[in-house]
Symmetry: C2
Subunit: 368 residues, 2 copies
């Protein structure tokens, strides 16, 4: 058992109570709006944290890689891999489909033809639609390719068409609830149109959407059947900036030892750099680039974010914290500083494990 | 043995021949200028790659953490930890100092007093000087703190003052050889001034400097006694941008499977995202943000960088490649795409292992 003050090196802490509250909040929201809840597990990447979802009745999940599906498959038998099928991994996909209810994602007839030839077990397939994020997926009016995929899929004994899946990741650029609601409205309108077109031939087809900002803020979900938020389990500084959460809902912080205090330049140097936080950043209009914000101590964890104190730069192992004169005198070499990370998914992924405030170590998936 | 075409998931490839040439080039440069060569091993983080340095006669190294010193200590008995002493790790420092010639870095009397009380074995100490990078270190005219450190160190039986250490990391913002030479000149002028002031009392004191851009480009090293470049073993897109290397010296590339090709929008989607590349970026004045550039295939590895083709965005697992019309038709789903990373240190750190073009797997340090 390790409490924050026992860490000699940068460590990721999570507040289990807050995580569980975040999970309960989203489960309740999905129930209220009568949508299937299939949370994305790419943020926490841990069997143990996954069980907190099961405690709330969750029975199906989303992951972002075949590897992650393999990792969760001993405990979850209904998994959607929300990433375009990577055909070199067909053997691994077949192994998974033999064991669990697996859904995969396609956005080209080319890939679906390959699947038709090579799948050995029943597998659900979603068609990825670009609902405005422009990262990947088919344009919603590309009926030619959609119909090709549906035809191939229909003629396959193994492929079973499940519906259309989209990710309105453009909400990450929003800075107000109204903007997010507007995006959700537009993206669900696109999906509703698609559904109307194909529901007659495929009466069970589902619309699957749901990014963390949209799911956190919006109160209208008509047009979707399933939501897949992931980040909300931890939240982070980016979500706070977007307005998806309040400060008290953020359930992660890095604990970093202080290695130098430079009062004359208002800076604290911490052991904690790009290899611990990753390098996601916020461009703050007042102070410039922000790689994290500093929180005070509270009990065995962190308290409120301290105004005007932030992680201003990161090199491989160093982090430089800008600190106002009235704060800096409270810190000394060897103390632990709490930093709220910009992007909890990336920080967790890089740290590979985290510790609850009660000192329990939670291992994440190891990648090979 | 795995060649690039055997990879099903993003993999980091290195060209051993180029690495060895880069090492030989820097060893020859240090010899020519009669400076000690103490390469930084934070880039490659591997015992095996370390042996390539030993093949060229290197016998002392630099690392960036206590953990990294522990990892290399079975094969290297002269190590400088070029990071301000993290006092919670005093037990680990004592264990290392009992086994090898260890140098550590301090920038405050507070830390050095702690060391005087707690060190149990002879340990070399460098004073960290800010030579213009403003990341950390003492201002070179802060004689009051420097003298305090020297006095405490002098009165300690365990501490042995080795000299002044600086890192002119501001060269990373340069985009021409003249700018880099100017920075090197100014930073070595600062160090020479310090040396003149303290050489009488400490006739063996060393000046230790040497970032990759400066060491790659400059041909004047008077004023320094030791250089510690690290990145040059691999180089990367950032160093190419700075002008530290030519394209042919870059010894790393990521091999990423293609999961979608969108001809109509000139984009290729690869399996390879922020959790593989890390998120260092270049702000290109013509095309905007660049997370990597694409190279063609050549033998078992990569060839020349393809103009106008680049990694334009990264999410957790996805990379979006912008590709000109005349190139895109040459790629199909399931192919491997070669991406030259922006910052090889960060990419290697996150990938945890790499493969030579001959298919040998090289493991890196595991962090715990």
């Amino acid at each position: 058992m390790k409490l924050y003050r026992d860490f000699k090196k940068p460590a990721l802490l999570i507040d289990e109570k807050k995580c569980r509250e975040n999970i309960r909040m989203m489960v309740a929201k999905a129930r209220k709006h009568k949508v299937i809840f299939r949370p994305h597990f790419k943020t926490h990447q841990s069997l143990e944290t996954g069980r907190w979802f099961r405690d709330e009745g969750v029975d199906r999940i989303t992951v972002s890689s075949v590897e992650m599906a393999q990792y969760f498959s001993p405990e979850w038998n209904d998994i959607t891999i929300a990433f375009p099928v990577n055909i070199p991994e067909i053997d691994e996909i077949n192994e998974l489909a033999a064991k669990i209810n697996l859904n995969i994602l396609a956005e080209s007839a080319e890939t679906v033809s390959f699947l038709k030839e090579n799948l050995r077990h029943k597998t659900g397939i979603f068609i990825k639609i670009d609902i405005g994020n422009h990262r990947t997926g088919l344009q919603p009016d590309n009926f030619s390719e959609i119909n090709k995929i549906l035809d191939i899929s229909y003629s396959s004994e193994k492929l079973s068409f499940r519906g259309f899946l989209g990710h309105a990741g453009q909400t990450y650029h929003c800075r107000s609830a109204d903007e997010i609601k507007d995006i959700q409205k537009k993206s669900l309108y696109i999906m509703e149109g698609l559904k109307k077109n194909f529901i007659i031939k495929y009466p069970d087809l589902l619309i699957s959407t749901g990014d963390t900002p949209g799911c956190s803020i919006c109160d209208k979900f008509s047009g979707t059947d399933e939501i897949r938020p992931g980040n909300f389990v931890f939240y982070d500084l980016m979500q706070l900036e977007i307005g998806s959460c309040i400060e008290e809902q953020i359930a992660v912080a890095m604990a970093c030892p202080i290695v130098a205090v430079h009062k004359e330049r208002g800076e604290i140097v911490i052991y904690g750099g790009g290899i611990h936080f990753s390098k996601d950043r916020i461009d703050d209009i007042t102070v410039g680039t922000v790689y994290g914000r500093i929180a005070g101590k509270k009990g065995n964890g962190w308290g409120k974010i301290i105004p005007d104190m932030f992680l201003k730069s990161l090199s491989q192992e160093h982090g430089i914290v800008s600190a106002p004169a009235e704060e800096i005198s409270g810190y000394k070499i060897g103390d632990i500083l709490f930093v709220i990370p910009v992007h909890s998914c990336m920080t967790a992924d890089i740290m590979k494990r985290y510790f609850t405030l009660e000192g329990n170590e939670i291992m994440m998936m190891m990648k090979f």
